[in-house]
């Protein structure tokens, strides 16, 4: 694995080669995969050398470093790995280059993934792999996929009541962080609600949204299928609860599939995934929050053309298949989901995954997303710990988000944004 370069300028070597720095992980299977693909790329492009700059996998640490480097106009790393909600922020700040002049094949990717990476009418990053929120269920306890959220509750209560049944019905990520929003968006979509509508107006306090939040609260305090502990949990705590057999259902990301299939898992071979179902009420639809990583070109890079070559290579179908096989991450290209090789690579039935990606919903695509999310996180969490009633919490959130949009002058920009309407079913 190539060592990291010092920050500074890249000069062409004597051999007249271009040097690129790629921001990526060196950990475990991901690290091995990245190294392999970079090497393959270098074989195909003898005049380009790629070096790996190790950056944290943890999103907020990586964000911090990126902000620092880009604020200092550092050209390394040339290729940045963006979380799905960062693209508009980085685009607006002028930190990543628009990809339009390279004519990327946008129609070959899922529309939601392209929307998430488009700001002010231009594409700024290519989706590398997709994460989608999934409902995990114990197939030995609930053989049939529940069709609505209410069925989930019924199934959960039934299994909890059986002797030696699991202690919990469902576990999710309810701590006061971004993960809470990703879960909320799914309940929101299930009841037909949205955070912002197509013209950028704040609609998170409409009745549908209140119903969604109330539903989450009911899971905690009414039907009690979710333990109060989830309000402090991130992905891993929920995963372990499910893995240890303590819960019938779990909402989590695809990574948990691989993590739970090894010998220490008590549920290996006994679980299946599907998208979070609709509520069954009119307007509602099955929703999976879109996550994942995108590849973008550092605006200060000295070799943007070469950088795009690398991005194009890494997002090509073959490489996405390799990734699916090595680390079980889902491709973002539509065509691959009709490809048998993908099913073999992922080792789980493709149907559920395809439905999940097709119902993938991005979070609001705006540079002020982190601030917006923080406001919403606080109010949602307050409602969930019963420091506030759902309607009041959402009203408060709506008011503050509105004020934020005003203060930052985003209103005009966001209404110009060509957002793809939420996937209608």
């Amino acid at each position: 694995m190539a060592a990291a370069l010092l920050g500074g300028c890249e000069q062409a070597d004597n051999k007249n080669e271009t040097v690129l720095t790629f921001s990526g992980s060196a950990l475990g299977a991901e690290g091995t995969l990245v190294a392999k693909q970079l090497k393959q790329f270098m074989v195909l492009h003898p005049d380009i050398r790629v070096e790996l700059q190790r950056t944290p996998d943890d999103a907020s640490q990586r964000h911090q470093l990126y902000v620092q480097w880009l604020n200092a106009r550092v050209g390394n790393p040339d290729i940045l790995q963006l979380d799905v909600v960062w693209t508009p922020e980085f685009a607006a700040a002028g930190w990543v280059l628009p990809l339009t002049r390279f004519s990327p094949p946008t129609s070959e990717f899922f529309p939601a993934t392209i929307t998430a990476n488009t700001w002010a009418g231009r594409l700024y990053a290519l989706p590398w792999f997709a994460d989608v929120g999934l409902l995990y269920r114990r197939t030995d306890l609930v053989p049939k996929e529940p069709a609505t959220l209410f069925e989930v509750v019924a199934d959960a209560k039934r299994t909890m009541a059986t002797p030696r049944g699991p202690r919990f019905g469902i576990v999710w990520q309810g701590a006061r962080y971004e993960g809470l929003i990703t879960g909320f968006v799914e309940y929101l979509g299930a009841f037909g609600g949205r955070i912002l509508d197509d013209s950028g107006r704040v609609v998170v306090n409409r009745p549908e949204a209140v119903k969604a939040l109330q539903f989450m609260r009911d899971e905690l305090y009414n039907s009690k299928i979710a333990p109060l502990d989830v309000l402090t949990w991130h992905e891993e705590e929920a995963r372990y609860a499910f893995q240890n057999g303590t819960s019938t259902f779990m909402r989590n990301w695809p990574y948990a599939v691989g993590a739970m299939s090894d010998t220490s898992s008590r549920v290996a071979g006994k679980f299946a995934v599907s998208p979070m179902p609709s509520s069954g009420e009119p307007g509602g639809h099955s929703t999976a929050t879109l996550g994942g990583a995108q590849l973008a070109i550092n605006a200060y890079s000295k070799a943007p053309d070469a950088a795009y070559e690398l991005i194009a290579y890494l997002t090509a179908p073959e490489q996405m298949l390799q990734r699916a096989q090595a680390v079980k991450q889902y491709p973002t290209r539509t065509a691959l989901y009709s490809d048998k090789r993908l099913e073999d690579a992922l080792a789980i039935p493709l149907d559920a995954v395809r439905r999940a990606i097709e119902s993938a919903t991005p979070r609001p695509v705006t540079p002020i997303y982190t601030e917006l999310s923080e406001i919403l996180q606080i109010e949602l969490h307050r409602a969930l710990v019963r420091q506030a009633e759902p309607q009041d919490a959402l009203n408060s959130a709506a008011k503050k988000i509105d004020a934020l949009i005003e203060r930052t002058g985003m209103r005009k920009l966001m209404s110009m944004e060509n957002t793809v309407p939420a996937v209608a079913r």
């Binding site: 990291a4 190790r54 999103a59 470093l65 991130h234 992905e235």
Partner: protein, 289 residues
């Protein structure tokens, strides 16, 4: 000589009370030791347990000991390099800080000149800004000096932010050391430098050892600067290496705790070695009027 006890009516006590006090003292000390060491004990237990078991049933005793986490530390992750980096950075910073700080403390404690209070205030004031806000401009500065991802790039900021403690503690300590001996030496013709090195320094050793340890530990644990001013494994320190264990969602508890246990060992060794120096009473025979 100004430190005799003023004659005051003091309450007297029966001697039996002393033993009772000692029992209380002993019990309190034991409780505190338990409180202090329990989490560390727990960290050791957890680092020997598989991650999945950690979330199942917590127990005080290790149920199922595995060495995987420790092996992963050194085989999969190369934990030696960050330890080396931390030792170099912390050690160098400590030595420089002590040298530079002692000189300053001597001046502030023993010499008379205007502006001493202002100097002490200034040295302290630089540490009153939250690190978060200093990081960005400091990054810009270090970058312009080409010090990013280098040892000096970490040592210099650490010195800056560890200096106040060094200077303040040493100044206070030196002030409390009576001047008698040094002045007697001056009368006998010794130069300032001689009285400093031969008389004052030896008496200041406990404070030097204390601030040395505190500085070392500060550098050892510092995270934000280390994360921001280093780029790769060749220069990253232990806290950064540990933070990089985290995957996007995964938190490898066992390895993190194993790393913590391993990282604490050099420090504990250092302290054990120096702990006698920390406590050397003035009654080592030197100072009587």
């Amino acid at each position: 000589m100004s430190r005799t006890v003023r004659a005051v009516r003091v309450p007297s006590r029966k001697t039996a009370g002393v033993h009772w006090g000692q029992w209380v003292f002993g019990a309190a000390l034991v409780l505190l030791m338990l409180f202090t060491l329990f989490p560390f004990y727990w960290a050791i237990v957890a680092s020997l347990t598989p991650d999945a078991a950690l979330f199942r049933d917590p127990s005080l005793w290790p149920q199922h000991i595995i060495g995987d986490h420790y092996r992963a530390l050194f085989v999969d992750r190369d934990f030696i390099t960050p330890i080396r980096n931390s030792l170099i950075v912390a050690g160098t910073t400590t030595i420089f800080c002590l040298c530079v700080g002692t000189l300053a403390a001597y001046a502030l404690a023993r010499l008379e000149f205007k502006g001493k209070a202002a100097i002490m205030a200034f040295i302290l004031a630089v540490t009153m800004f939250p690190q978060i806000s200093i990081v960005s401009p400091l990054y810009l500065l270090l970058r312009s000096l080409h010090l990013i991802d280098t040892y000096p790039g970490l040592i210099m900021p650490y010195m800056t932010f560890a200096m106040p403690l060094t200077v303040w503690v040493l100044t206070g300590s030196i002030r409390q050391i009576p001047k008698d001996l040094e002045e007697a030496a001056h009368v006998d013709g010794a130069s300032r430098r001689q009285s400093f090195t031969k008389i004052l320094l030896p008496l200041a050793v406990p404070s030097l050892a204390t601030t040395g340890i505190l500085t070392f530990i500060y550098c050892w644990n510092e995270f934000l600067f280390a994360l921001s001013f280093t780029l790769g494994p060749e220069r990253q320190t232990v806290p950064v290496a540990i933070a990089l264990f985290r995957g996007q969602y995964q938190v490898p508890w066992g390895e993190i705790l194993a790393a913590a246990v391993v990282a604490t060992t050099p420090v504990a060794a250092l302290v054990l070695f120096f702990q006698r120096r920390i406590v050397q009473g003035l009654t080592a025979g030197a100072v009587k009027g």
